[in-house]
Amino acid sequence: MSHEIVVVDYHKGNLLSVARSLSAVGAEVAISDDPRTISEARGVVLPGVGSFEDAMSYMRPSGQADAVVSSVQRGVPFLGICLGLQLPFQRGSELTSEAWGNGWCPGLGLLSGSVSRLESSRLKVPHVGWNQLHLTERGRQCPLLVDVPEGSNVYFTHSYAPADDIDESIIATKTHYGRTFASTVWHENLFGVQFHPEKSSATGLRILSNFVCIVRG
């Protein structure tokens, strides 16, 4: 049986909060590490735990990377959360081994551009806490952000974010911390949020509920 939404488990942390928040807004949810189960889902959520290279080095050999890429290419609604927003880009600089030298670890390559570290001499990194979403023109039309007003507060905890080389036209919200970064991206059926909707109280539930509506068409 295919599930309405599958939360991809790449064995790096606890996914209960994400799964329970999706259930709370009425979705039928399964957590799975099985590429076939992921492929059959009507909506895919890639959660945010661990680091860029660690996640990729699990997702590639396990077949999860191919499953996610082919689902997105077939038009299945996809929501990436935190690291899950970062992985669809071409490359990330968050390395945990020597495999890529001082360079970049390849991502899923669904979106052009890179993911780089937030650098600030003045502010503390990681960026942890409640910060605001600033809607772009694109954001005002984004189905993921229905009833999410300008300036809404959401919960962030991250050290890396989409870099300035990403396609400006996919940016739905921006957030300022050290630099201005894309906190929500939207390209066709692919949605990504740099914050944690499952930790963002009522605003987060609204966003997850919007995603469920997108999955249901």
């Binding site: 942390g13 606890n14 209960l16 909060s17 329970r20 928040s21 709370a24 503390k124 990681p126 960026h127 942890v128 806490g129 409640w130 910060n131 605001q132 007003p149 300036g151 809404s152 507060n153 919960y155 905890t157 300022h176 911390y177 944690h196 499952e198 930790k199 963002s200 109280s201 009522a202 605003t203 987060g204 539930l205």
Partner: protein
């Protein structure tokens, strides 16, 4: 702009809320997760569960609590109290806790902070410090065992070491003010906030709305923590946040 946070703290013993709770409409006023869910709906930015079960080595009820909280809460939460080693902290994070807070065990073995930061990331590691003023000068000593035992360690130096070792936040409780309702020890809070490059959560002594704002403005804290004024319904979280906002402090009010 990153907002300043308001954090209710729940003392938990054997899986139950200890301090009296004066809340209507709770099915079970002793259930920490149910109480925390109320705070979530009322606008708390995060919650801290402090396990004060004194003797037992068995943390299974607390792990159950962490896992239940992961299912029910839609805001980040911390579990603190009673950690002895990295294994216990790992279990708590695996159960779904966003952060773990370590106190006495880190005094005994500061390496614990380094290990936890490497394992879970600094954002998940809080070093809790119970400090008590020494004499009349601005000098504070670290206490352990629920504030009963002096260590001879200087609070500012310890806060700096904790930050160096990778703690992501300091939860700073004034033992002189805790339970007095006279307000935070602002000199202590400011001294620590200026001494470390990581956020400081002010704790101990809140009795009025003004105290919350003072903690941020004069104490230079990034977050303010209270227990009884919330549990007894003296103030709602919204009241506190609206007051802080009226004093020019950025807080999250869209809930």
């Amino acid at each position: 702009m990153l907002t300043k946070r308001v954090i209710p703290c729940l003392d938990v013993k054997d899986g139950r809320v200890v301090k009296g709770v004066n809340f209507v409409n709770l099915v079970d006023a002793g259930d920490p997760v149910e109480l925390a869910s109320v705070y979530d709906r009322e606008g708390a930015d995060e919650v801290i569960f402090l396990d004060i079960t004194a003797t037992s080595d068995d943390r299974s009820t607390t792990i159950e609590l962490a896992s239940h909280a992961a299912e029910e809460l839609r805001i980040p939460y911390t579990v603190g109290g009673g950690f002895r080693d990295i294994a216990g902290m790992t279990k708590m994070v695996a159960a779904g806790a966003d952060k773990v807070s370590v106190n006495s065990a880190a005094i005994k073995n500061p390496e614990l902070i380094s290990l936890a930061a490497a394992a879970f990331g600094s954002q998940a590691v809080i070093c809790a410090i119970d400090a008590k003023r020494v004499g009349k000068a601005d000098k504070w000593e670290v206490y352990v065992a629920g504030g009963r035992k002096a260590t001879g360690i200087d609070a500012l130096e310890w806060a700096q070491e904790a930050a160096r070792r990778g703690a992501g936040e300091i939860l700073l409780t004034s033992m002189d003010r805790d339970g007095t309702k006279e307000g935070f020890d602002l000199a202590l809070t400011r001294a620590v906030a200026r001494a470390v490059p990581i956020p400081v959560i002010a704790s101990g002594g809140v009795g009025t709305l003004e105290h919350f704002a003072e903690g941020v403005i004069e104490g230079e804290a990034d977050a303010v923590l209270a227990a009884s004024v919330f549990h007894f319904g003296t103030f709602s979280i919204r009241q506190v946040k609206e007051y802080m906002a009226s004093q020019g402090i950025p807080v999250r009010l869209d809930f």
